[in-house]
Amino acid sequence: MAIITMRQAISDALWEEMERDPKVFIMGQEVGVWGGTYAVTKGFLDHFGEKRVKDTPIAESAIVGAGIGAAMVGLRPVSEIMTINFAFVAMDHIVNEAPKMHTMFGGQMSVPLVIRTAGGGGRQLGATHSQTPDAVFAHFPGLKVVSPGTPADAKGLLKAAIRDNDPVLFIEHAAMYQIRGEVPEGDYTTPIGVSKVQREGDAVTIVTYCKGLQLSMAAAEQLSQEGIEVEIVDLRSLRPLDMGPALASFKKTNRAVIVEEGWPSYGVGAEVATRLYEAAFDYADAPIKRVAQKEVPLPYNAALEQFALPQVDDVVAAVKEVL
């Protein structure tokens, strides 16, 4: 297995899918000449040409809407929204058009569209540019929402998303493109809607995804030095949500901490905790804890921003609280 960055894994997935299927193409702001805001599509324009690497105007509804239309008539578009903060101006197309088409026309149309975007805070971009509103999008039936935590999953999940016959919102983390991890050689897909145990342990179950996985892994190292072995379940997909591994783990450890970067109110943690309680209330030996962002629009000041964002220490503290 090669060790590559998240950026490379995502780029490879896209490249390989575009090589594999001529109906796959990418469109978005600066995906072509610029090479992608996060350099994911560097070199794509030279190789695939303008037909398949399409620079768009700054028009998020057009980027997603045109993706929907092209998908409806048989193409496999990947529409890139520069960051998830700009997805709000395309909200109608993401949550109200793409996921409704198949149902509302009685199965006649499908929308095999991938919307790639990057979320997350921590880069001093201020409140409008630092959000993790994943739960907002995961709220809508008909839309699939995927957010990988490792390069291997990023590659496999993006390939699966491109081959999926339904609209998939693929959320990357803007501060994770540099992280490295082992990625299998050759072509593979990672199924959407399947959670994974990323670390085994018996003390506490941590349920998390995306950047939360990085925090949790770091916390697990620290805790391990104190003899506390946590089990980490990576959701990978927020919709469909596979609770299987989290539930099994909770029944084993009887304690759970949920780690997410978004705000806790109405969030992923709220959903996961409720499901654990609903299905396994009797197994709980302590109240389930949530580690999440503080409930404010994220400040610019670096120290204040970090204070508002969940940290490794917060995860460590939460685990000790439920023990």
Partner: protein, 323 residues
């Protein structure tokens, strides 16, 4: 392009069919058998009938929520239309769409879309699909005057020119968006002038009540686009005789205005044309009207006798991919 007698009779039949289906639907609505919104197309029949009669089979049609006319023009049966209005499993969208969401993909009719203007970027994407695959189809996107004031309009129309997409933007200016007259909502009253700002050739048909004129201008616009010259913008002046939807008290317009327009009833105009040009006799047209009457009666019987979708089918069309 020259029409034979039987072609004229067929177009006349379609216009009368739209009228009867809608008149009877209004009754069914009043009787509480049709739920939700019901937006009637009465008064505008010459527009959709004219458009559909000159398009080639490879030309896609997509429209807004006032969609019964197009649905019948493309050949969706009165049975399937009325059954959809009644929410039945035998409806064209299997009872999932209702009045505003009718489509038949096999007939290259891509729906009925209920969010004002949202289908414009989607239409651009469908046209992109044809351009990408090298097909010579034109996407005909119909929308109201009101839709030209929402951001989607700008994004979709702009993109169509930037990418030179084969799309006909067809604004049906029926002079009101709900209760708001064009001059109270649009900075430019001559809607087609908006295309000027995007460098798209445009024109306005003053007499959209005359199907022969609609056919002529739409045919020319389609030829223009098919010859590779990119998008075209056509504004067709028309009028809706009924309120915006059922139960609209129409306080925003004078009775006189409606009465005046009713004198240019598109069906009356076409009737006079056919008889005046000695294409067919009044008796021929009477016969068509009787046949339509019977067809609609039968359709209502069929729809009323049709089953509701079973509760066990609730999730049937949530995802296109079957795991």
């Amino acid at each position: 392009m020259a029409l034979k007698k039987k072609d004229h009779l067929e177009l006349y039949r379609q216009m009368v069919l739209i009228r009867r289906v809608e008149e009877r639907s209004a009754e069914l609505y009043q009787a509480g058998k049709i739920g939700g919104f019901l937006h009637l197309y009465i008064g505008q029949e010459a527009v959709s009938t004219g458009i559909v009669s000159v398009r080639q089979p490879q030309d896609r049609i997509i429209t807004a929520y006032r969609d019964h006319g197009v649905a019948l023009n493309v050949g969706i049966s009165a049975k399937a239309v009325i059954a959809e209005l009644l929410g039945k499993e035998t409806g064209v969208s299997k009872g999932r769409g209702g009045s505003m969401h009718m489509a038949d993909v096999e007939k290259n009719f891509w729906g009925g879309h209920a969010i004002v203007g949202a289908h414009l970027p989607i239409a651009a994407g469908m046209a992109l699909g044809d351009q990408y695959e090298g097909r010579d189809g034109v996407t005909i996107c119909m929308f109201g005057d009101g839709a030209t004031n929402i951001g989607f309009f700008h994004e979709g129309v702009n993109l169509s020119k930037v990418w030179n997409l084969p799309v006909l933007w067809l604004c049906e200016n029926n002079q009101y968006g709900m209760g708001t007259a064009v001059d109270r909502a649009s900075a430019v009253e001559q809607i087609h002038m908006k295309a000027e700002g995007y460098g798209i050739p445009h024109s306005r048909l003053e007499d959209g009540m005359d199907i022969m004129k609609v056919r002529e201008v739409v045919g020319a616009a389609l030829d223009h686009i098919r010859s590779g010259k990119g998008p075209y913008f056509l504004e067709v002046m028309t009028y809706r005789f009924q309120g915006h939807s059922m139960g609209d008290p129409q306080r925003y317009r004078e009775k006189d205005e409606v009465t005046k327009w009713e004198k240019s009833d598109p069906i009356g105009i076409y009737h006079r044309y056919i008889v005046g040009e000695k294409i067919a006799t009044k008796a021929d047209l009477d016969k068509i009207e009787e046949a339509v009457e019977a067809e609609v009666n039968e359709a209502i019987e069929f729809a009323e006798a049709s089953p509701d979708p079973g509760f066990d089918t609730l999730y049937d069309y949530m995802y296109a991919s079957k795991e």
